[in-house]
Every structure is written in C-alpha cells, then in structure tokens.
C-alpha cells in the first residue's frame, strides 16, 4: 500500500519541532493550548476586573487609541507576516538529498511541512487571538462568538500562510538556480512581505477600505479587497464587538461569512497543492561559487572601530559572514521599512511618544535578527571558539561589537523616520530621543545575545529564531505595561525604568548565556 507521503513528512516536521518535549511531544498542543484557554476565559477577564479602574482610565485616555492600534499592529506583524516571509525564506531546508532520493512529489514536501507546522503555529495564533477575545469578554462576548473569533484568526492565518508557502515555492524555482540566486530569493522574500503588510494592515484598519467606500463608486479595487478573507473576518469580529451575546444574537450573515472562510481555505489548499506540483521542482539547485571581494573602506573602518589587532580581525570575519548574507540586510530593511509604514499610518498624531512606543516594539525584532545569527552556524562552529584560548569571551565580545556596529545606525535612522511625524520638533528633544534609542538597542543586543546563547538556535530556519525574539518582545511589552500601571508612562522616569530593566535583564541573561556556552556539549 502506498502511504500518504505528505502525512509522513508532516509527522516528521512535527517531531522535529517538538523534539525538546521528549515523550510528551504528542501532548504539546494540549499542554500549551489548555492553559491558554484557561487564561483567556478565566485569568485575563479576572485580572482585567482587578485593574478595571486603570483599564477604563487607559481606554478613555486620548493616547490609548494610538497605543492599542500600535500594539495590535505589532501583534499582527508577529503572528501574520513573519511566518509568511519565513516560509518564503526557508526554502532550502527542503533540499535534503535524503528527500530527493526518496520517491516523493513536490506537493508532498510542501504540504507535509505545512501540515506538520500547523499545531505549532496554531498555539501562537490561538494565544494571540485569545488576547483579543479576552479584551472583548468584558463587553459580553458569548462563548460561540469567542470560538468563532479564534477560528477566524486561525483561518485567516493559515490561508495567508499557505498562499505564502506556494508563492515562495514558485519564486524559488524561478530564481534559486545559483548561490547568489538563493540569497536573492531570501532577500526578496523579506521585502516582498513589506508591501503585503502595508496592504493587509490597511484593510484591517479599514483606512483604505473606508477611503474606497467614501470615494463613492465601488470600483474593482474595493471589490478585490472584499474578496480577501481577512476583510470578511474583520467584519465578523467587528459585528461581534458591536452585538455581543449568545447564538440567538447572531444574524445569518456571520456564520455565512465564517463558512465562506472555511471554503476559501480548503479551496486555496487544494489549488495550492495542484500548483505546487507543477511549479516546484525538487531538484537540488546547482550553485556557482562567489568570489570574496577585496576588503574595502567599510571593513577597514570596522577593523579600525574594533581597535585592530586580532580582535579587529575577528569582528571583521564575523561581520563578513553576516553581511554577505543578503537576507540579513533585507531583515534590517524590513524593520526600518515597518517603522516607515507605521509612521505613515499613524503619523501626524501630534503625540511625542507614539514613535517611541513603536520603536519599543520593533527594536527587539531588530536586535534579535542581528544577534540571532550567533548560533545558526551550528554547534561545531561554536566549538571552533571553544577550542581557541579564551575563545568564548572573544566570541561574545566580537558579536556585541559587530551587532553594535549594525544596530546603532539603524536605530538612528528609525528614530529619525519616526520623528518626522512629530509636529514642531525641537533639536534637544530629538537628540535625547536618539540617544535613548541607541542605549536601548545596545541593551537589547546584550539581552538577545544572552538569550541566544542560553537557548541556542542551531538552524537557519527563521521560525526557530522566533522563540527568543518573542521572549524579548514580551519582556519589553511587560516593561511597557509596568510603566502604564505605575502611572509612569510618558514620564522620564518611566522611560528610564524600561532602559534599566532591559539592561539588568540583559546583564543577567548574558552571564547565564556565557555559562551555557562554556558548558554546552
């Protein structure tokens, strides 16, 4: 009997992802899912009641609207767009010769990995949507409605992800025929996601949608937007928020839209499988070798900044391996591009702190992207440092130096972009802000280096990197809410508190990370 190959591969992908759970690995979705559900229906509403006064105050304040929007936007980036660009990005892993030599069709490989990753992503999506739902429960949201909202998030997410996976496969089979091409493919994938974020968010926030409606005639573009399931879903969520309650409260339209989303997902899945088989070739890609360009001004400057000598050489070597991977550059462009997008969407609010809040949420990604490289060359690469006298210290120092050289200019540029939205800016304020952002990004570099050494990520798969980056951003969000509840938000003390907490946490994790680096085997 022929086994379903994609199921075999899906199981394999699942086992790889959950390997750290040992014999409990099949229970992972429940182990994580159940506490999340409990938290959503019990803990969060209860805690929200506890803080009701502060919450109400916060929701009523004029600043809240911007903040909530920005927070939702960040969540949206986290749970919707990264996996898409990841799937675009992480194509080469499938080209294991072991797969090539087995009797497989391309669709088995693509579908298998997608299905195998589903439980993993579901946990994230359920967590994110639960947060959403938890905030709506105090409004009187019914249980069926709550589950439908979560379902909408899941369906939207997996439809988008699957479309991304198929498109990625097609892009790759077109351009991935050289080593350079592979790099270019990875680089494109990140930046391709950028306009997508813009468009999808425009739909979510309704700006474009409303603008199109306001322009009178429902043109083809408005019609096209209507075809996207995320707008159906957004409509359902909004109408639930407006008419919360039990099943009897629902009109026929909402279940219909929900069903349409399911049909859409199944249809996309089916069409994608057909397409994938035709567009995607499993053949391993030939590559041409690239010449290393002679050391130019830039690396000479890097060497000089690091103080020359063998430390300078180390920093330059690490930097070359980083800089020659185009996807690293595109990741940086991606984050700065997001800063620009947010500034465009939310700019002109006259609010001095809006930009800073946004940077607060985006800097962890930037730091994580840069520093996350430290372990992806594998354990054997770390052993090169382990073998060298005081190699571990050298590694840590060289990485901090290299990351600092990358992140400082990016932080300055991002701050500058976000400052363009502040009306009547004075220079002193700008200088203070730039300095603050530099200090914060440096402490985030230390923090994420510590994290990546504590929980090393030995593969290039960007999805694996997200764990540590999520810890970083949750930490920063925690700091942010701490300043809110301490009523320090917007005060100098509040900003300093965030910086202080991050630095202390950074120092601690780095110490733990180095200890792990020394004892890892």
């Amino acid at each position: 009997m022929r086994r379903r190959k994609w199921l075999v591969l899906a199981k394999n992908a699942y086992l790889i992802r959950t390997s750290s759970f040992g014999s409990l690995r099949y229970a992972v979705p429940f182990l994580i899912g159940v506490p999340v559900m409990v938290a959503m229906f019990v803990v969060v509403p209860w805690a929200a009641g506890f803080f009701m006064d502060e919450l109400e105050l916060f929701f009523l304040s004029s600043a809240a609207v911007t903040f909530i929007q920005i927070i939702l936007f960040t969540m949206f980036i986290l749970f919707f767009t990264f996996p898409i660009s990841f799937s675009l990005n992480s194509g080469q892993e499938e080209h294991y010769e072991i797969l090539l030599s087995a009797p497989l069709e391309p669709k088995d490989v693509i579908l298998g990995k997608f299905v195998g990753d589903m439980p993993f992503y579901s946990v994230g999506v359920i967590a994110a949507s639960s947060f959403f739902v938890a905030l709506m429960i105090p409004l009187g949201l019914g249980a069926v409605q709550a589950f439908m909202v979560i379902g909408i998030f899941l369906l939207t997410f997996f439809s988008a992800l699957w479309i991304g996976v198929v498109i990625a496969a097609m892009i790759r089979s077109k351009i991935g025929s050289s080593a350079r091409g592979k790099d270019v493919g990875k680089a494109i994938s990140m930046t391709v996601a950028l306009p997508m974020v813009g468009l999808m968010y425009a739909i979510m926030s309704g700006k474009v949608y409303n603008a199109l409606l306001a322009s009178g005639s429902r043109g083809p573009l408005a019609f096209a937007l209507d075809l996207l399931p995320s707008s159906w879903g957004a409509d359902v969520v909004i109408s639930f928020a407006l008419n919360p309650g039990g099943v009897s409260n629902m009109s026929l339209e909402e279940p219909l839209r929900f069903a349409a989303m399911i049909v859409f997902f199944v249809g996309v899945l089916w069409a994608g499988t057909k397409l994938a088989n035709r567009a995607y070739s499993l053949e391993s890609q030939s590559f041409s070798s690239n010449l290393a360009r002679p050391e130019g001004q830039f690396y000479r400057a890097v060497r000089a900044v690091s103080g020359g000598g063998s430390f300078g050489s180390l920093v330059v070597s690490v930097f070359k391996d980083y800089g020659r991977r185009l996807e690293n550059i595109s990741k940086a462009v991606y984050v700065v591009g997001l800063v620009a997008l947010v500034t465009i969407f939310f700019g002109g609010t006259e609010d001095m702190y809006g930009g800073l809040v946004m940077l607060l949420f985006l800097l962890p990604f930037l730091a994580g992207f840069i520093v996350g490289e430290v372990t992806v060359r594998g354990k054997d690469n770390l052993f090169i440092y382990r073998k060298a006298p005081r190699g571990e210290t050298r590694l840590v120092r060289a990485r901090i130096m290299q990351s600092a050289i990358v992140i400082v200019p990016l932080a300055v540029v991002s701050t500058a972009i976000s400052l363009t939205s502040v009306a009547g800016l004075d220079t002193a304020y700008a200088v203070i802000m730039v300095t603050y952002v530099i200090a914060l990004s440096l402490s985030l570099v230390v923090f994420s280096l510590g994290l990546f050494l504590m929980f090393p990520v030995f593969s290039e798969k960007p999805a694996d990197m997200m764990g540590n980056i999520m810890v970083l951003s949750v930490f920063i969000m925690g700091c942010f809410f701490a300043t809110l509840f301490l009523s320090l938000f917007g005060e100098v003390a509040g900003w300093l508190l965030i910086l202080l907490l991050t630095s202390v946490a950074g120092a601690v994790t780095l110490a733990l990370g180095v200890r792990n680096l020394i004892t890892m085997e």
């Binding site: 690239n290 010449l291 290393a292 070597s317 354990k379």
Partner: protein, 263 residues
C-alpha cells in the same frame, strides 16, 4: 624515554543528565613527545570524545589529565594554545573565503598579522588552493573544505596536533599528501600527533603506537608489532577485528528473511 606529552588518569566522560551514555570509561593513556599516536575503534567508541576532552572542548566527568604538562581543568587556556585540532565535523563560516577563514583562525590564536598572511598563503599553496583562495567556502567541495580546515589547524603552528579522521573525504593524492605531511610534521618538525582514523593502512604506516578503544574502554595499546603479536594475526585489520569483534557472516542478510518468507 622521552617526555610525556599527554597523560590521562581514569579520564571519563558521560553524556546526559544521569550519565546514561558512557562515552569514555576510565582512560589511562600516556602519549610521548614527538610520537605519532593512532586511535582506532568502532563508530561511537569514544575517539572523538577523547579528542574533545584533551582539547578542553568538553569537560571530563571523572579522572584527570595533563596535556603538555598543563592540567586539563586548571590550565585549559594554555592547553588550547599549544594544541591544534582538525575536528571531525567542523563548522566553518561558509561566507568567508579560504584566505579569510585562515585569517579568522589565526586571529583566534593571536598569530601576529604579518606572519599570519605569509603562513596562510604558503599553506594554501601547499594544498593547491591558492588559485581559489578568494572564493567563498560555500562553493568548495567537501575535500577542499577539509584541506582548508587542516591548514587552519596548523595556522598557529602548535607543538601538539589532533587529527580526527583527516583523510576520510580526501582524494587519493590529497590523502597521500596529508599523510606525508603528518609524517613530515612528526619527523622533521618534532610535532606530537594524535590521529583518529578508520583507514588502517595510514595508521599502520604513520603511527608509532596504536590504541584501540571499544565502547569507551581502551582495550589494546602498543606498537603495531606488539598488537600483531598479542593477537597472533598478520595484519592490523585482522588484529583490529580480533580485538573489537566483527559481524558474523550469517547475520549479514538476516534482515531480509521475514520478507522473503512471505513472498
């Protein structure tokens, strides 16, 4: 008798929380200065573990050792300086060129930069990689990478060298070259060499003494002649199989039996 270079006493290593995998079990071994020592043993016997222990990459879970007179735990930095290692599965930076990788390794061992660039060029020329020195390592074949790694192990010119399966990916002439080079390093430059290999003729030719490890235990040690005498065999291969055991002929095809019974 010449000076002892490596001396281990009851050196042990187990992996896992409760010591489930005993990779090396109470090893007592002396390697003398200027000697070439061969380490043999089946897959998973503990050869790589021994090499990693002696290079201070992993920490022992029992026993003690000195390398070059330095204590394995107290003076690990000094030991790292005087040893060079060709690792079994090395992780190199694929986006560096061969030349840049050697520069990187030299920097890790504090080789002065004027000496470094000269030495890197000479080593690359020796391995026939000079014309491709500026190509990124991602485009190198496995054997070419191996050559770069051997060059990298030599870049700080250490007195004690460890080669973990140096020739397993090399073409016949490159393997011959590496073998001759190890010979030259031992005879002319007075290096002490520890080599792990499954390629018995190389071990036979190069090594002054041979140790055989099986399941973490040193089960035999001596010169080639001593090993042959002890087992009463006439080749190293036969002696090796006599000491470590072999798969019985009749077992070789037993995995097919169930299936052929059905059809």
């Amino acid at each position: 008798m010449s000076k002892v270079m490596i001396s281990t006493k009851q050196l042990s290593k187990s992996y896992g929380k409760s010591g489930r995998v005993i990779a090396l079990d109470r090893l007592n071994l002396d390697v003398y200065e200027g000697e070439t020592f061969g380490l043999l043993g089946p897959n998973g016997a503990g050869k790589t573990t021994t090499v990693r222990l002696l290079n201070c990459i992993v920490k022992p879970t029992g026993g003690s050792a000195t390398v070059g007179g330095y204590d394995l735990i107290e003076d690990s930095i000094e030991i790292k300086r005087i040893t060079g290692l060709l690792a079994e599965s090395p992780g190199l930076y694929e986006k560096l060129s061969a030349r840049e990788f050697l520069e990187f390794m030299g920097a890790l061992y504090d080789v002065p930069s004027d000496m470094l660039s000269d030495r890197a060029d000479k080593l690359l020329r020796l391995f026939g990689l000079h014309s491709r020195r500026n190509h990124l390592l991602e485009g190198y074949s496995r054997g070419m990478k191996q050559k770069v790694l051997i060059a990298a192990a030599l870049i700080h010119d250490p007195p004690l060298l460890f080669f973990d399966e140096p020739t397993s990916t090399l073409d016949p002439s490159a393997a011959l070259m590496v073998k001759d080079m190890m010979k030259g390093l031992a005879e002319n430059a007075g290096k002490t060499i520890v080599v792990c290999s499954h390629i018995l003729p190389i071990v036979e030719e190069l090594c002054d003494r041979i140790g055989i490890i099986n399941r973490g235990k040193l089960v035999a040690i001596g010169t080639l002649d001593e090993l042959l005498e002890r087992t009463g065999k006439d080749t190293l291969e036969k002696a090796y199989i006599d000491i470590t055991g072999a798969v019985q002929q009749k077992e070789l095809l037993s995995w097919r039996e169930l299936r052929s019974a059905k059809t």
